[in-house]
Amino acid sequence: MSKIKMLHLSKQYDKQKDNVIHDFNLEIKDKEFIVFVGPSGCGKSTTLRMIAGLESITGGELWMDGVLVNDIPPKDRDMAMVFQNYALFPHLTVFDNIAFGLKIRKVKRDVIKQKVEKTAEILELTSYLKRKPKELSGGQRQRVALGRAIVRDANLFLMDEPLSNLDAKLRVQMREEIINLHKRLGTTTIYVTHDQTEAMTMASRIVVLKDGHVQQIGTPKEIYNHPENMFVASFIGAPAMNFFKGMITPDQLTFSNGNRIGALPAAIDKQGEAIIGIRPEDIILANKETGIPLQVDYTEMLGSDLYVYGKLHGDSIVVRLRPDHDVVTGEIIYIEFASNKFHLFDPITEQSLLHREELKQ
């Protein structure tokens, strides 16, 4: 039995004509780590808050452990939530913040002490138990917020952009800590982020959202290698996938002017105009005779990679090269595309032209 089931879930605010969440369907299995990812305003936090019970559900059904919970108050949903800005009580010590839920539930004092101490040990907060939140760093505060969630042994963790307020280095460290915590506790987790790196590195499955619509649900690998539409293809991956106009002929892909790009990645029903997508790392340097010329507009040296930006038949593209290549602005380089790495999209619907079975392969 699935842990959580969302059936045709939708949300409409008063006085607003359109839904902010449309027909959201998802089944989450026990111990899964699900990440909702999408740009600002895509409805990912709203969906999470509907699961938490902090927002009402205006359409559809939400099931938890086989129980319809649409009208069940948050406290009876047996979940714990971690917020972006920690939501710690400034007047309480770390101990009391972690113990908050247990005290509200009138758990015995010695049990509270034992549980809080154990949680503090897991999160390495033991020496901070008597401090107030303002005496802690951002990372420590978020650990306290995590502590408040895990101390209750809740059935489900909901995390709303918990790392967004941290600096880049701390974010990577906390990301690892959350992954390890999930491995250790095995609690089903729904995690909201706008950061595709977090989604890719943490998720068992990713749900990509845009304007309240689910764009694709899949493992990080599926989402990255087989995006179902241009939005998913461009949102996941940094730098984003390159797109340019092309033609599908019965046996090959060509530019609009008829020049050959490469072989078809799979049998395609459709012929004619298409949007061709290719990831920056699937473009390789070629020799002058066989390669496609690309004038370098500018480069970005990242240490581990070299990004080369230019225009191909009017479309901007970026090429990801190894850092030891010596490429300078204004130079003409010659490129070719790795075979079978093309993504083909319908220019009108922006949906992938590759069949679902091929996407899954």
Binding site: P74, K75, M81, N85, A87, F89, P90, H91, F100, R105
Partner: protein
Amino acid sequence: MNRFGNAGKLLFFVGIPMIPLVVFWFVPMAVSVWLSFTNWDYISPTFDYVGIENYASALTSADFYNALKNTIFFGFWTILPTIIFGLLLALLLRKGLKGLTGFKAFLFAPWITPMVAMSIVWSWIYEPDVGLLNQILGWFNLRQPSWLTDSEMAMWAIIIVTVWKNAGWAMLFYADALSKIPDELYEVGNIEGAGWLQRMKTIVIPLVSPTTLFLIIISAIDSIQAYDQIQVMTQGGPAGSTRTLLYLYYQMAFEQFNMGQATALATLIVILTGVLALIMFYGSKRWVHY
């Protein structure tokens, strides 16, 4: 040279604003303390030094202790309801009712109305035979007291007016303090299953405690300085039941022309206010969460 320049600047920027403070506050206060050791009668040009006699007679007189008791009673029963009503009104208004701004203005209006004008209107409301309050009590067959002439009720009448004036003002401060509590904290309470009372106890009251301290201090000073409503409605009566320390001072100074004793009383009021401020300052370290 530079040092002198800095000292000059300091004198200029600090010294000039200090002039009115010195002229209208420090000097009268020092003169007042000096007068408290004399038997000046406010009119005659001569007086004698009497040492601490004025203080001794104040501290041994029944009037002083009666006025002190009245002041404490008045202070406690105006501060507590002002704070409770202010917070409850602010919580009510937080719900986002229609016409909120108008309602807030309506509740705040008493604060900007002069106390004298309000006290006159309230003395009509308290009128035992035709006053509005007793008319309403009459509809419900409740006792209709002689509000301003019954020594049991007169202080309560003054307290009601003062609370009515101050509650809207306290509400504005609380509304601001409540708006600064992040929604997530209520949501944590909601997820953890905290009821209304628990949310009040664990979230609202601790997080508005700086505002509560501020309101207590200001209301305490305000209640020590209460004069207008007493003067208009009861003149300290009946039988001294509404005579607070400040009103006793007024009567000693300007009705009995006993300026020496009056200034001794004024000095005692200042000392009491100082002690009160100290208690609150130390209390705040434990009870107020910044």
